[in-house]
């Protein structure tokens, strides 16, 4: 059994895990337990097995690609966790689970001090789509604080579209009387934000990560 109580749980996923491991290196205090978690989606082996099942009448279990895919997935998970542990470079626990990733992650992180996840959606744009289905579920349902990181360089503040209420200014001659009220910080001369850090802390994390510091 694994002990996640008080641990910093790092969710390792293909292509995006480096950002999460780096965040753990920066935020997890030395000596605090770190747990690297990889979830192999059960659907991989299931899909390969179902495709064989769909080949009507070929009842030869030894040709079923499902178990082979499951085996390959296990090997791949082990390699990924090893690579992540090497990058972390400090003692850590490695855990592989199988099932529906978002649910397994939420379950595994129940007693964690912090859960680190990467944006897994369409990262070419800001906003809701940058979180995929799985990360969205984890952010919504994880019982512990969650740290959401950009896998690569975080997009600059300049890429954020203007708020909807400012859009009428682009067409100043149209229905000017309907221009919304501009608050003191929402006007055209508002001070620029400081550069966005590569890590993006969700609101709940900011207070709850204190024990890590």
């Amino acid at each position: 059994m694994t002990d996640t109580e008080g641990a910093v749980v790092v969710w390792i996923t293909e292509g995006t895990w480096r950002g999460c491991v780096d965040a753990a290196l920066r935020l997890a205090p030395p000596g605090d337990p770190v747990l690297l978690l990889y979830v192999t989606p059960a659907e991989f082996a299931e899909t390969a097995h179902a495709a064989y099942l769909g080949l009507f009448g070929r009842g030869r279990p030894e040709r079923d690609p499902g178990p082979r895919v499951a085996e390959l997935a296990g090997v791949s998970a082990g390699e990924l966790l090893t690579a992540a542990a090497d990058r972390l470079g400090r003692p850590c626990q490695r855990v592989e689970r199988r099932g529906l990733p978002e649910r397994e992650v939420v379950t595994a992180a129940a007693d964690a001090a912090l859960l680190i996840v990467a944006r897994d959606g369409d990262r070419s744009r800001l906003g809701p789509k940058s979180l995929g289905k799985a990360a969205r579920f984890v952010v919504d349902h994880a019982p512990c604080p969650v740290l959401v990181v950009w896998p690569g360089t975080a997009p600059g503040v300049g890429t954020i579209p203007p708020p909807p209420r400012e859009r009428p200014r682009e067409r100043p001659h149209e229905r000017p009387h309907e221009r919304p009220h501009e608050g003191p910080h929402e006007g055209p001369h508002k001070p620029p934000h400081p550069p966005r850090p590569a890590l993006y802390l969700t609101e709940s994390v900011i207070s709850l990560t204190q024990p890590c510091k």
């Binding site: 996923t13 989606p41 059960a42 179902a50 080949l55 009507f56 009448g57 070929r58 690609p65 369409d122």
Partner: protein, 447 residues
């Protein structure tokens, strides 16, 4: 006028092949026995008690319908003679695919994917589409599901890419990319034997539907899996290529495959069964593998999958008993007559629906004799339906899926809804586009 000629030829072939079955008078008792026999075969194929092969049910079921007179020994013999060459052809293709795997063909495919698509998930998807489509077309859907899928999965994992789109591509294309050649799918082999079309003509008529269906699948996949296909910021490169061992180009396997393909067209053009070309290709690779001690005669016999071949034979006889005793007559009004666009669409839709109710193999056996009098176009429309339709559910048929769930053998996996949603996006669109393409091809090339 070529369509009319094709129609005449199809009718001629089928009147000989299926005529006796059609003339049988509906008989309630015989139909009940036949339907029960078919239900046992279908149930066994889905449930597979003790993991025994499907032939264990299909062969006795065929014996029962013959013994009870639900089908005469003469008609059963005619069905067996008709299915025999198809089954032989299938066996040769199964062995050929296995031998190609032994030559390292699929390992080389994995190495090529890893080398050319590192860091580019969209490119990997495009290449997987090409490989899965060609593998399915040339070496049949079995090769894609059994031999290519694990290689594609391993490659995606090695490149540290999300495997879902690529894995699902193999699954989908094993069905929808099996339109092109008679050897691509057992359903095609059955239709090919019955349609009277030459190999080259079959491929010519199906080329456009094959391409447009693959194109449709690709567009849907790109949108559906957009988040999984994000370019990698950092990824693993192609180190290791083919599982640690460098994989060279399997020249012999590729040359034999090219020769076999040419052989299909040539044999068919001169009136010889193209099964001989498949057998020759398999024999060349088998001789080489035996000489190099990479395989044994036992392994080759196992690759031919005798229980499956017996299952097809038993199923064919039982289905003929079912159609001959009433089902054929009941379904005939539902099968649109002619090869007009609406008729082709109706035929394909009916075939897709039936493939989901009773699986595609029984569906094609039931529908072929009904569609054949309308000509080769109608037979090919049946194939469009039974080959694309199974993508609606991930077990290839709604029946299998529901039964599995009822039997709790295969879970109501969380991916179920996802896969069904993908099926709903691709199958209706694929059916319509394939039928439109087939209709256009029939007009340009002629049925």
């Amino acid at each position: 006028m070529t369509t009319e000629q094709g129609r005449g030829r199809g009718e001629e072939t089928f009147s000989g092949a299926y005529g006796k079955g059609r003339k049988t008078q509906p008989n309630a008792a015989a139909e009940a026995v036949s339907a029960a026999a078919l239900a046992v075969i279908l149930g066994w194929a889905v449930w597979r008690p003790r993991g025994w092969p499907e032939a264990v049910a299909a062969v006795p079921a065929a014996a029962v319908v013959i013994a009870t007179g639900a089908i005469s020994a003469h008609d059963a013999g005619a069905a067996a003679r008709r299915l025999g060459p198809v089954i032989g052809f299938l066996a040769a293709v199964l062995v050929l695919a296995e031998l190609c795997d032994g030559e390292g063909l699929f390992r080389a495919c994995g190495a090529w994917l890893a080398r050319t698509a590192a860091g580019q998930p969209k490119r990997l998807l495009a290449e997987v589409f090409v490989l899965a489509s060609v593998t399915t077309a040339v070496l049949s859907l079995d090769a894609t599901v059994v031999l290519l899928t694990p290689v594609v999965f391993a490659t995606a994992a090695r490149l540290e890419m999300r495997a879902r789109p690529h894995l699902y591509a193999c699954t989908h294309l094993s069905n929808s990319a099996s339109l092109l050649l008679p050897v691509s799918n057992l359903t095609n082999l059955l239709a090919f034997a019955a349609s009277g079309l030459a190999f080259g003509r079959f491929a010519g008529l199906m080329a456009l539907p094959w391409l447009t269906v693959i194109g449709t699948e690709y567009l849907v996949f790109r949108r559906f899996f957009a988040a999984d296909l994000e370019p990698q910021t950092v990824g693993r490169s192609a180190e290791g290529g083919g599982g640690g061992r460098p994989a060279g180009v399997p020249v012999v396997a590729l040359a034999v495959l090219a020769g076999t393909l040419a052989g299909f067209v040539i044999t068919s053009a001169v009136g010889v069964s193209p099964a001989w070309a498949a057998l020759a290709g398999a024999a060349v690779l088998a001789g080489r593998a035996l000489a190099q001690r990479r395989t044994s005669v036992t392994a080759l016999v196992r690759a031919a999958d005798a229980p499956f071949l017996l299952f097809v034979l038993g199923l064919g006889i039982v289905v003929q008993a079912v159609t001959g005793n009433g089902l054929g007559g009941a379904l005939r009004p539902l099968v649109p007559a002619g090869t007009t666009l609406p008729a082709l669409l109706g035929t394909a839709a009916l075939a897709a629906a039936l493939a989901n109710v009773i699986n595609n193999l029984p569906a094609v056996l039931v529908l072929l004799p009904l569609a054949a009098p309308a000509g080769a176009g109608a037979v090919l429309a049946v194939l469009v339906g039974v080959n694309i339709g199974p993508n609606l559910t991930y077990t290839g048929s709604l029946a299998t899926l529901l039964w599995r769930r009822v039997l709790r053998q295969h879970g109501s996996g969380p991916s179920l809804w996802e896969f069904t949603r993908l099926g709903l996006l691709t199958v209706p669109a694929g059916l319509v586009i394939a039928v439109l393409s087939l209709w256009a091809a029939l007009h340009v090339i002629g049925g």
